[in-house]
């Protein structure tokens, strides 16, 4: 088996035993990227020089007997909305073409401290707005399981890179499902942590009350390792959580005996593909057979939640993206006055989906409409939180499909924004509530496309979430690999 196929756990053990070096591991991963990128386009930037220095430094630390980090020598990819000092960071937008941040995001700094080798920056829907990674100013990313299909989004590049072994793990951001949905569509594990557990400092903001950074990995244990490397208080993020939380690792092998698993009634039926529903039902049956108590729960606000999200997220985006004005960084168009320059810069620099959401948010916040749209959406958010609290009174975790469908064809929803928004029905509730949730691959549909199973937990409930995820992973025994990798492995 090639080194690019190793999990982080296996690679770390191999490095510890001296069976391989960080430089060898990096070169296997870069070779995998060079063989797949022409078809996939998972990366916007591959930082060969920086990664090589990182791998050489790691090998030197190890040889010198210095203290090593938990990810020492492990090649990791980063979504291109995470600021990397001196390495171009574009958010897949023309408006940030050529932007090299003068600082690292906190997550990036923590990964460096953990010894990770940062391979490069992955493609996304522009400013993380989308569910297909088609809305990139630099071209779409394709799904490694079928390159005529989308990888999901917005963190589609990170998901695809991990799926094919162009990185052993990756980070993305999840505002309405942007980690979990592409993880499901690409057959990898994806985690959205509790809001506030991972610092957002240096994550170029989309919707600040919803955005959360999280990992992609090829195993649940790897996802825990990546989560541990970046979680924890950061004084540079005013919304960073200050309290303590239990370690998820200690419970990973405990199984689900005695746990109460709530199946969300509303996340099934119309719009959900039969293969997705069948895989979800099979996984729930397996959990019951493994000793879990299965209950049905109802969250009637789910449909209204989607509507609330498509008011709250664009409203916050319209304010956050006001900073792209052609003054301090990025693209600038000519204009006789500052205002004319700004309006031309923004119209030229932003793509259509970003403009659509800025307009939507500006409208929802404007005089005369604020109470009817934005104010009402914030009330729906409270209603959802109350319904979730009731569900968690009878269940330790909730489960659902991650996405109503498997990967769809490139272009299938590109002209219908509303159809694209409906992709996020299962994932949005956790963002509005600030709760953790994750996707674990559990099978393939009749076309050989991966299906993700979602596990939702209450705030700071990562311990029980990862515990159930580890059992789902064992029960599903998902070991399929994309055909394009099978030929290489």
């Amino acid at each position: 088996m090639g080194l690019a196929e190793l999990t982080i756990g296996e690679a770390a053990a191999g490095l510890d035993r001296g069976d391989l070096s960080a430089v060898e591991l990096l070169s296997a991963v870069l070779e995998r990227a060079s063989m797949t990128e022409a078809e996939l386009h998972a990366f916007l930037t591959i930082d060969r020089d920086g990664a090589t220095r990182g791998a050489e430094d790691s090998d030197r630390r190890r040889a010198a007997g210095e203290q090593l980090g938990p990810l020492d020598g492990i090649p990791i990819a980063l979504k291109d909305n995470l600021c990397t000092h001196g390495v171009e960071t574009t958010c897949s937008s023309q408006i940030l073409a050529g932007y090299r941040p003068p600082y690292d995001a906190t997550v990036v700094g923590r990964l460096r401290l953990a010894g990770a080798v940062l391979v490069g920056k992955t493609n996304l829907d522009e400013f993380a707005m989308g569910s297909s990674t088609e809305n990139s100013a630099y071209g779409a990313t394709r799904n490694p399981w079928d390159t005529s299909r989308v990888p999901g989004g917005s963190s589609g590049g990170s998901a695809a890179a991990v799926a094919v072994g162009s990185a052993l793990g990756a980070f993305g951001s999840d505002t309405g499902g942007s980690i979990r949905q592409p993880a499901a569509l690409c057959g990898v594990v994806g985690v959205k942590p509790t809001y506030g557990l991972v610092s957002r400092y240096g994550l170029i903001a989309f919707a600040s009350s919803l955005d959360q950074i999280g990992p992609f990995a090829r195993s649940v244990a790897d996802a825990v390792t990546l989560w541990e490397a970046v979680a924890g208080h950061d004084p540079l993020d005013a919304t960073s959580y200050r309290g303590t939380y239990p370690s998820p690792r200690v419970d990973l092998d405990k199984g689900v005996k005695g746990l109460r698993i709530g199946v969300v009634k509303e996340l099934s039926g119309e719009g959900f593909e039969p293969a997705v529903e069948a895989a979800t039902a099979r996984t729930v049956e397996q959990l019951a057979a493994a000793g879990a108590e299965v209950v049905e729960v109802s969250i009637p606000a789910v449909e209204a939640t989607l509507s609330a999200y498509y008011l709250i997220a664009p409203a916050e985006a319209s304010a956050n993206l006001a900073r792209f004005d052609g003054i301090r960084y990025g693209h600038r168009a000519a204009g006789a006055t500052t205002e004319e320059m700004m309006a031309r810069t923004r119209a030229e620099g932003f793509g259509p989906e970003v403009i659509r959401r800025i307009l939507l948010g500006t409208y929802a916040l404007s005089a005369g409409y604020y109470d009817a749209f934005y104010g009402k959406a914030l009330q729906v958010r409270s209603l959802l939180q109350a319904e979730l609290a009731e569900a968690y009174a009878v269940a330790d975790v909730l489960v659902s499909p991650t996405s109503p469908t498997t990967a769809f064809e490139v272009g299938a929803k590109a002209q219908d924004p509303l159809a694209m928004y409906l992709c996020d029905i299962c994932t949005i509730p956790s963002n509005l509530a600030g709760h953790p949730a994750m996707s674990v691959p559990v099978g393939l549909d009749e076309s050989g496309l991966p299906i993700g199973f979602q596990i939702l937990a209450p705030a700071l409930g990562e311990q029980v979430m990862f515990r159930v995820a580890a059992e789902v992973e064992r029960l599903a025994g998902f070991e399929a690999r994309p055909a394009m990798v099978g030929a290489l492995a």
Partner: protein, 97 residues
């Protein structure tokens, strides 16, 4: 029924210089999206406060200490135009104002 919006006004508020054709396309799409979004209005939310933050955190303060800032030269090197340590912009007011 799709909601009709004054797209020229909204584009001006958002500082987006869109031509009439682009405005017309966005006006139509936003009308359909807002029709769906308006479903929030049908829900009875009596007694529920607007929640701006998911976990109800309160404001966080840090000690008011002088700390080094980012290097000015590196920051300005990313600006479209700068001079003598400042960002340069076109006139903020129309010359005839």
């Amino acid at each position: 029924m799709p909601i009709d919006i004054d797209i020229a006004h909204v584009a001006r508020l958002a500082r987006l210089d869109l031509d009439p054709e682009a405005q017309s396309g966005f006006r139509q799409q936003l009308g359909v999206i807002l029709e769906h979004a308006a479903k929030v209005q049908a829900l009875d939310t009596t007694g529920f406060e607007a929640s701006g933050h998911p976990l109800g955190f309160t404001n966080a303060f840090r000690p008011d200490e002088v700390r080094p800032s980012l290097p000015t030269a590196e920051v300005l090197s990313m600006a479209p135009e700068s001079r003598d340590g400042y960002f340069v912009v076109p006139p903020a007011l129309d010359q005839e104002d």
